[in-house]
Symmetry: D2
């Protein structure tokens, strides 16, 4: 019988941010059911969080270990199908590894892990188990990002020559981590965030977006990594020169001290024949700048778009689809692919369009390399 895919969540208890996002994204299309969770390492808090979500208390676990163990013991028609990991960076590896080792598919927030060693271990495990693994680089879920990717792939703008990708935020312009701000606290703490701050938190999104959209890989980089707010231990700003594998050049910058910016991820790709521009804060427009003819505004749901873009669209043109819908596209594709997999079928190509553990490994390498370059006097570092 037709059924929803069953999700167990690690993290995302009361007071968390990204956990709620994952739940809304997963719920949106009516294809996924949250059935259990280890919402907090504090069992009482986990139960209370689960109650908010109308879960039965017996499926609100005190730890991910408990959750995975117990769920595995449940009958097949009841136990969760996959684990969604929404904890801070230092608690990605543990639950991901254990889930994979126990036969559960995984959705994991980015960056993939705390360091490269963990990342490579997860990559091997995914390959070995054949389980599905989605990494929530959610910005690639927007229809117009997919349209841009396809236009580049199909040669509409000619060979890519220059990429400018930027991710300015302003919320860490002052030392908010010294206040009660929970989101700031772990992101600026090397013990929970890893070797990078802004570069790990949002720089990896920029890197992933640039590689996803262009289909190119970064080959070399030269990074200027900064701590602008006194007393902070991890980077809150960075500017990076890029060289891609086809010879294209680029700039990537990410900043959390760009005062007054909200979440202004933006990318421009210039090819031989046209330039493309997409901005996350107005995500339903893709600006196509042609050589010597009028600029076009491609829009979600308007006219002939590539199937990849249409597949990521839910409602008619002019009804803005936002962040949660883009995030939901990862869950939608993942759950479709999962349903097929469980049914012993090969997932459709369109449904496999979600970021994978390999993207996660590239993201971890990006973090390592920008931090290394930031400390180096040498201009270019190989990626």
């Amino acid at each position: 019988m037709s059924r929803k895919m069953r999700m167990g969540m690690v993290g995302g208890g009361r007071g968390a941010f990204i956990g709620g996002v994952h739940r809304m994204a997963a719920a949106l299309d009516g294809q996924i059911e949250l059935v259990c969770g280890a919402f907090s390492s504090n069992p009482t808090k986990s139960k209370l969080s689960g109650k908010d979500l109308h879960l039965p208390p017996e499926r609100c676990y005190g730890s991910y270990e408990e959750m995975i163990k117990r769920e595995k013991e449940l009958p097949e028609g009841e136990r969760m199908d996959f684990v969604s990991i929404v904890t801070p960076n230092h608690v990605h590896f543990g639950p991901a590894k254990m889930a994979l080792e126990n036969g559960f598919h995984v959705v994991c927030d980015k960056p993939l892990a705390f360091n490269m060693k963990e990342a490579k271990t997860l990559e091997r495990l995914v390959k070995k188990t054949g389980l599905l693994f989605a990494l929530t680089h959610n910005y690639t879920g927007y229809p117009m990002v997919k349209q841009a990717k396809m236009m580049i792939k199909k040669g509409k703008i000619g060979a890519v020559r220059k990429v400018v990708v930027e991710y300015p935020q302003g919320w860490l312009s002052t030392r908010v981590e010294a206040t009660e701000q929970k989101q700031a606290a772990w992101r600026t703490d090397p013990k929970r965030s890893g070797i990078a701050g802004a570069m790990g938190d949002i720089g990896t999104h920029a890197e992933n977006l640039a590689e996803y959209m262009t289909g190119l890989h970064i080959k070399k980089l030269c990074a200027d990594i900064n701590i602008m707010v006194p007393g902070r231990q991890l980077d809150d700003d960075g500017n990076v020169l890029l060289e891609f594998d086809n010879g294209a050049k680029g700039i990537l910058f990410a900043s959390q001290i760009a005062a007054g910016e909200e979440n202004a991820l933006r990318i421009r790709v210039y090819g031989e024949k046209a330039g493309l521009e997409w901005a996350q804060m107005e995500p339903n427009s893709l600006i196509v700048k042609w050589l010597d003819k009028p600029t076009e505004i491609m829009r979600t749901g308007v006219g002939k778009l590539y199937p990849e873009a249409q597949h990521a669209t839910r409602i008619p043109a002019g009804h803005p689809e936002g962040y949660l819908e883009a995030f939901g596209n990862i869950y939608k594709n993942f759950s479709n692919a999962l349903r097929a997999t469980i049914a012993g079928k090969k997932p459709k190509a369109l449904d496999l369009d979600f970021p994978t553990v390999e993207d996660g490994v590239r993201g971890m390498r990006f973090i390592e390399k920008v931090i290394e370059s930031g400390k180096s006097k040498q201009k270019w570092i190989k990626f």
Copy 2:
């Protein structure tokens, strides 16, 4: 025990548009569960539609009458709590009336009914039964619409002098109803749509938005109602002069032959001290134009906003919230109010912020009056 509110749906089977929107909007916050539906008047199609949604076949009914009757017979812990009506205009009244008469709360798509008589009957029934009734004038669900409403209410822009509200679309620029376009077919058919075309479909949204945001009521109007595409029976364009109860003047226009427009609902309100501007296609910005000082861009999630706006916001600034989130705010508030009501408590004021049957009656009057004015040689018609 904590539980989700249980929804039964009338309409919204395969090939429908707004049914899926209602389902996504209802699912978003994890507070509502779709438990049954009469998705089509064709029982086989209803069952197939229900299967897509992972519903058990026995709760996919062949008619709304069957659904309401059978659900009523189910035990309290199982049967639906409310009915969501997502059919064309001529099938609002029947299920709404029957639901109310059988003790089910109602969410209904707009306009409220096929004509004023039906509308008034529903209004009386809601009053009589004391049941909750939400009308999905979804555009008032956007946070920045609520912020604007509160600013006006608190006197920030002084007395309102002028309102310009417009709703241009272009999708009926050609006679698409002559093709297979199901959405166009019923909207342009007087037997299913009622006496108005564009004015009923989108003019009422403009009217509702203007009254909701300003807190004013239309007192008089002068309408020029047009059929621009030959062969069409209902208006596809209209321009209306308005006078409000405080003496403010206004313009409302709605058009479905505004070639190339997507869904460009936009409102400008000018007061003695400032002007406000909000556009549905960039819904997270509210532009505040002051006399002789810099224009401000208020943004969803940025800075100090009124509680009404904050209550309608799910994610941090810069993560665009769109159409489904605004639509979901009606369901969220409705389900919160419903949960309180079922628990015998008084709903919170913030949760009662959704359009009601009274808004529906005003919308029906608007339809009647603009059509009447459109045929009149007299300048002003009392609302």
Copy 3:
């Protein structure tokens, strides 16, 4: 020998606004030389104003009568070729009539005159004398307005169905005319402005722009004319329904109490195949909205534009041309046509692209009719 055209100015002394605009617009292209002026009815002030402009005192006259008389007596190689009239509305007719009667060509600010009788007299005089007469409806001087006009003329958007033209300003939101504000004072004074306030000052610009761009004529109108600021004698706001001679419908609104608006003249024209949008405050873009394909942004200087648009462009794409350049296009075309006329040649068609006395007569009729309609209980008034 090649020479500049010689201009004499009426009005525009110290403290004036539009006089300086005319001088800059006339000077821009190096084809016109200011040689004399009656800058003020106060001879001393006129001389001082002339000194600021580096004119010899003997050509700074105390009245337009004196200027026209004396200049006529100067030798042909020295005397002015044309008069530029930049006074308030009630002082357009006198100098225009006298200039024409004495063989001088005329550039005149809008509206053409104080009332229709004056306007018709000037129209007859222009016809009779064969002299050149330009009316500075400057907004039609923008390249992208011309591009839009040509697109419509060439059928690119199909038959026009709907026109929305608006001109909101906010500067009269309070009673600034009660202060020293010289510009507000005469515009709100029936003795100097005529029967209309906002409708004469800016409504006529909107009317002229709509007719120029579409090539259509207004056939009927229905106006709601308002005084929103207590104590004011002339309209400061108005909303007008329009019907054009091809059956297209429209809305025109003009307001000087639209708080926070600068000078937001904007027009949208919807045809069968596409919609056009142009806004004076971002004048180098023309938005072309197609049915079901991407919207295009046509830009001054980019790609293949009509000769009319190119002729109105001075610098390469991306170097914004503004208000003075558009204003200057009237002077440029006028001076080119004048040079040809003086040389006994027929001016080029492209150089005759400036507003004429006939446009002025239509503007005066617009003023008369909107004010008449504003007082009427009848819905439609013939234009």
Copy 4:
């Protein structure tokens, strides 16, 4: 007696681009009169060009040497006051040097010279002679650039932390210099342009804008300089990391292969308290992004602006002032300062707000250093 300042021009004959810009900019305010020119090194062409401009043939010279020599011999009341140099880069030094040595003030297009040696020579000459020297880094002439400069100077945004300045153009995306395109030809030719292409042509504008607006100086840079179009000899693209003298970091990029871009100079400056954003293609807006309160749009002519911004504004708010007006501000200030100087007075501070020979020397150093860095394997190069 009051008189206009008399300008002689070097370059700018038929077919040139920037010469016409200089003439329009100089003419705009009616304070400068073009009296002579050496418009071309071809005497016939120079005379024909002068005829288009209504100059007497005897003041249309065949070379700058001739012009300077002959003009010097004219009586004081007749001869030019200053020379305006609008030739390609390799012909800046000659006329500038000779003009200064013969007592003429100078306006010169940027970059200052062909190489650093020339630049330093001119700097010494200006200092020695005490003559006025303006370099037309015209983008600093916009009112909102001046407003931003003053806001930073007055501490409104706190200490500057990050600067992002970019200047993308697309017109050299193909090898247009191989066609008849005169503008492309000299700019891509090392013999006429110097050691840099895009970096000299537009990169210096970006550098000058960043230093002017922030009041900071570049201390170190790390440049990636590229030739993207095969067969080209000079850079057509470059990405530069910056460090300023207060420790702020930055990115500068300039490109002439950014397909589809017009002239998209844009700057963002992030301070401790706010971020500023200004874009040349919408020059009348300055976006001020505050920490946690609404973004403000400052506009030319609206509200209380600094005197420096007001001084650079000609017309009321909402009447867009563009490229020529900004360019004209250099000429306006220069001519005001010149008039005072000639009268033996000290120019007003507001009138001395134009780029000088020192700015030109910094621009030449920028060119040298980015090219040097582009070839280096070392990360940072001292400026």
